[in-house]
């Protein structure tokens, strides 16, 4: 699934855009060391962790996007950083489980 279709299907708000790319699956974790060790390239990463380090880790692991779930807030400067780095960041009030459920049939 491409990232635009992904965003439409989840109904997420767009905080930051990157280049066109494919989403291969969903990865859920809030512990960033764990994400660095286990997330796979192309996955959409659902988390409540909004620290600036998420941007670096999404780039490092070549994740498709970050989905900030459950209305977790992200500071303006972090969003700006994501925009500069062209990392897709979405936001939703849904839980990570609900986001994954919406995508379960199409990924």
């Amino acid at each position: 699934m491409n990232i635009e279709a992904f965003q439409q299907q989840t109904g997420c708000e767009v905080y930051s855009k990157g280049s066109a790319r494919e989403v291969s699956g969903v990865y859920i974790s809030d512990l960033l060391s764990w994400v660095m060790g286990h997330a796979q390239e192309g996955q959409a990463w659902a988390t409540v962790q909004a620290h600036e380090n998420v941007i670096a880790i999404a780039k490092l692991k070549e994740l498709a996007c970050i989905i900030l779930v459950e209305g977790a807030s992200m500071q303006e400067e972090v969003i700006r950083k994501a925009q500069e780095e062209e990392v897709w960041v979405f936001a939703t009030l849904d839980s990570a489980y609900e986001v994954a459920k919406k995508l379960a049939t199409s990924l």
Partner: protein
């Protein structure tokens, strides 16, 4: 050498023994031959209210808290006076998440006076995070003339490395804390420029000074100079 242990919990912390009164901690520190200690409870300062009425036996006291940041990183905030710590706490108190505490599940949150009489219980859980970013908390600590120390950086669930993956370059912390000589050696390889403290994170009296840490006086005084 300066003998120190800058991360000791009192009985106010739910995870600490009930016998961790401030008086007992100071007496134990004296027995251990410590020059300086810091008492740091989880997300609260109030156990230190009566500390200035106690005999100190020559032990220097720093006034601290162990903050749980919004990211769930543990961060020590250390101050040279109760006034500074209290002012800092009042700044961050509005961001404290207040969930009813269940002592039978998580342990007691007791405050003792200088006679070791139990005088107060905090009835919301001190486990919950302060809803404020680690960057802002470091900034607020500095505004209140305190020091921000990244607590037990190698801790598997609440150390900065586990939670944030790496120490952000932009983070304005003053020192990092490790919990063993092995960790100290490891940290010196990775963070050679950083000030480091080897603390006990004592939750029981017997854990105080378990690492028998010491530091060159010059290094110690240079670090704390602007605080006193």
């Amino acid at each position: 050498m300066i003998r120190y242990d800058l991360h000791i919990h009192s009985a106010l912390s739910p995870c600490a023994d009930d016998e961790m009164t401030i008086q007992n901690i100071i007496k134990m520190a004296h027995v251990c031959g410590l020059d300086w200690i810091a008492i740091c409870d989880h997300n609260h300062y109030k156990a230190l209210t009566y500390a200035n009425k106690l005999q100190m036996y020559g032990v220097g006291l720093l006034y601290g808290m162990e903050l749980t940041t919004r990211e769930e990183v543990h961060l020590l905030a250390l101050f040279s006076s109760l006034t500074a710590l209290t002012a800092f706490y009042e700044t961050i108190a509005p961001w404290q998440t207040k969930v009813l505490h269940q002592a039978e599940l998580f342990g007691n949150q007791w405050i003792y006076d200088e006679l070791d009489q139990k005088v107060e219980t905090i009835d919301y859980t001190l486990w919950s995070a302060i809803d404020c970013s680690i960057d802002t908390l470091c900034q607020l600590i500095h505004e209140h003339h305190g020091k921000a120390v990244l607590a037990h950086i190698y801790h598997a669930s609440h150390g900065v490395l586990a939670v944030l993956g790496f120490i952000p370059k932009t983070l304005a912390f003053d020192a990092i804390e490790v919990q063993s000589v092995q960790e100290l050696q490891l940290a010196k390889l990775s963070y050679s420029d950083a000030m480091m403290f080897l603390n006990s994170d004592a939750h029981r009296l017997v854990d105080i000074d378990r690492n028998q840490a010491s530091m060159e006086p010059e290094l110690w005084h240079a670090f704390w100079r602007d605080l006193t």
